[in-house]
């Protein structure tokens, strides 16, 4: 056998081993994730969580999000579109997973805005202006304060409301539930308790579609 054959065979075997191991690992991981979600279904939705859409809809999307996460901002229009497309059949539950530094302050602001029924307005404003108040992946709440007027909120009241320990408890509980469910990235979606098979908008759409057609015949 020539030496170049050894090299080619070794290269082929190494790459093959990598691919096979990766496929095995992904399959195992997917199963583990599904099991975690099924075992901890009570951690998915809390009474205090922000909800949107028809409360009696049979399909529920749970989204773990971080206001400072770029992918969450880019996903938001798609999620809104899905909600419109299946209006009445699908509702949405928002859970917080503020993984970026400073992001917990942004969540506190959102909870403050929620008391004025302006949660969605402020969340959308945060996503729109995100590139201006996140610097090197660190949230800068002070910068966002200069934009928040545009959402038509009472800023003095938000400042007052966001300091409460109740909001910090919500964030801690959401982070703890995220951990139980094995959620370490944002956004993470669960549709009727099922995790996405892999991350992507199409995967979310497909899962929502199949759940809608299963529950509304």
């Amino acid at each position: 056998m020539k030496q170049s054959h050894f090299t080619l065979i070794a290269l082929f075997l190494l790459v093959l081993a990598f691919i096979v191991a990766a496929l095995f690992h992904d399959a195992g991981e997917k199963q583990a994730q599904e099991k975690r979600a099924a075992d901890n279904s009570s951690a998915l939705i809390k009474d205090y969580s922000v909800k949107a859409g028809n409360p009696s809809a049979k399909v529920t999307i749970v989204e773990f999000l971080d206001p400072a996460c770029e992918t969450c901002a880019r996903f938001h229009p798609f999620v809104k579109q899905l909600m419109q497309q299946y209006s009445g059949k699908v509702n949405l539950v928002v859970r917080y997973l503020p993984l970026h530094q400073g992001s917990d302050q942004m969540v506190a602001m959102l909870e403050g805005a929620r008391k004025q029924n302006k949660f969605w307005e402020v969340l959308e404003l945060m996503f729109e202006t995100q590139s201006q108040w996140t610097i090197n992946h660190v949230a800068q709440p002070d910068i966002f304060w200069s934009f928040i007027d545009r959402a038509g909120v009472d800023t003095a009241r938000i400042q007052q409301d966001m300091d409460g320990s109740a909001i910090m408890n919500i964030i801690q509980q959401d982070l703890a539930d995220g951990k139980l469910l094995g959620t370490d990235k944002t956004p993470t979606f669960f549709v009727n308790g099922k995790p996405l098979p892999s991350f992507g908008f199409e995967q979310l759409q497909t899962l929502v579609e199949s759940e809608v057609s299963a529950h509304y015949k």
């Binding site: 090299t7 070794a10 190494l14 191991a21 690992h25 992904d26 993984l99 370490d184």
Partner: protein, 157 residues
């Protein structure tokens, strides 16, 4: 050195480089597996070791086909710098030198427990073993092939 002896030296040298390339390839694919498939985030020191391991997988392959005895000259310094990082990392991991107190920030500590595979294999130790193996193999190949070179050069002069 006779022609037959020279061919034998070259063959032995080739195999030494081949095995060190295998080690570099295993390390490269292994570390990519940890980060891209298993989702482990490489710590800062891991990144420096990767910077000096990944090119070895390419340079050594090029030195094998056709056999280029000078490849050891280019690969050894890279492996040596990699070894320094991995030595430092291993000492840090086992607490033999303290990690400077730093404010917490996103990212992972280089002395983290998450760096142990299957509960028994610490990644820094794997890296240390790989760099040591590559350096020993390349040093042997270097001595073999370069002794050869000096002789040919002398005869030309």
């Amino acid at each position: 050195m006779s022609a037959a002896e020279q061919i034998e030296t070259n063959t032995t040298g080739w195999w030494l480089i081949f095995i060190s390339w295998l080690v570099a390839m295993l390390s490269t694919l292994g570390s990519l597996f940890f980060s891209e498939v298993m989702g482990l985030i490489p710590c800062e020191l891991c990144w420096y070791q990767r910077i000096f391991m990944f090119p070895l997988a390419i340079i050594l392959l090029l030195g094998l086909h056709p056999l280029d005895s000078r490849v050891t000259r280019y690969a050894l310094p890279i492996a040596a710098i990699g070894l320094l990082f991995t030595l430092y990392h291993s000492l840090l991991f086992y607490g033999l030198i303290p990690e400077n107190l730093q404010p917490c920030r996103q990212g992972i500590s280089c002395a983290d427990d998450g760096m142990v595979l299957f509960d028994i294999l610490p990644i820094p130790l794997l890296s240390l073993a790989a760099f040591i193996a590559i350096i020993i193999l390349l040093l042997k190949a270097h001595r073999l092939l370069n002794r050869n070179n000096h002789q040919t050069r002398n005869t030309i002069i």
